[in-house]
Subunit: 155 residues, 2 copies
């Protein structure tokens, strides 16, 4: 489109009804960020979906699967599959919570910590590309605004 379109035609696209929609801009921005993130995580055998699970385990929060599901906005059954994968590759371990034996708490292995640290570097470096159009101050503003959208009210 941008390659072949005339300037005036491109302007028409920008002025289209959907271009002003916050939800549309959010979706397109996310698609770009998602692609960059998955690309950056590929060498580590991680994805945008699985990386936060590992990262939260490595934060030492000892999260239960239920807590992960709520925080990551995933169905509990999806968390099972993500952890199965991470555990199968020796990056995390399930520990049954002795205070409530229904719950399983996620803890990182030594290898998991190592991979997570490297992956984190890669993710932060990869963010540079999709958000290159924004200054550091603008990224700060964006993060603050999105933070309130992502975690409304009581959270």
């Amino acid at each position: 489109m941008s390659e072949t379109g005339t300037p005036t035609r491109d302007a028409s696209w920008r002025a289209s009804s959907v271009s002003a929609d916050l939800s549309f801009l959010l979706a397109r921005s996310n698609a770009l960020s998602l692609a960059a993130g998955n690309e950056a995580l590929r060498p580590f055998g991680l994805r945008v979906r699985s990386y936060p699970v590992l990262a939260l385990a490595c934060d030492g929060l000892r999260p239960t699967q239920r807590e992960l599901a709520d925080f990551l906005r995933l169905d509990p059954s999806q968390v099972v599959a993500l952890i199965d994968d991470l555990e199968g590759r020796g990056l995390v371990e399930r520990q049954t919570d002795e205070r409530d034996r229904r719950s399983k708490v996620l803890v990182p292995t030594a290898a998991g910590r190592r991979i997570c640290a490297e992956a984190r570097e890669a993710v932060l470096a990869a963010e540079a590309a999709p958000f290159a159009a924004l200054s550091p101050a603008e990224r700060e503003t964006l993060a603050e605004l999105l933070g309130r959208v992502a975690f409304p009210a009581a959270d």
Copy 2:
């Protein structure tokens, strides 16, 4: 998590390593917005994925499928499926571009225009919920920043 967690534990989650990631905040915000959008569009038989196709046709741009694919960041083969659905329900028509008979241009039917106008109202109304934490001015700022992320440089 927010229901059962103690305040201090919730604070730990907010301070977790992923919570500061722009890409994570973007993904979670988008998930909320997406859910609200699909909910709002359900009565019209549309989805967040198909609505923009109809809306762009209704803007009178006479977009080709290739242009739609680029603008919506979809593979051309996905656009085929989305248009097949809209065309099958009598909301849009494919017209072969006489200046380049390879291209097909998308135009709305009368029914398509009617549905699109109603759907647009519903989408805008539904946006209120996910972005309720932001003032109108802040939404404006967010839209401007996301616009530059979504359409970098030459676009």
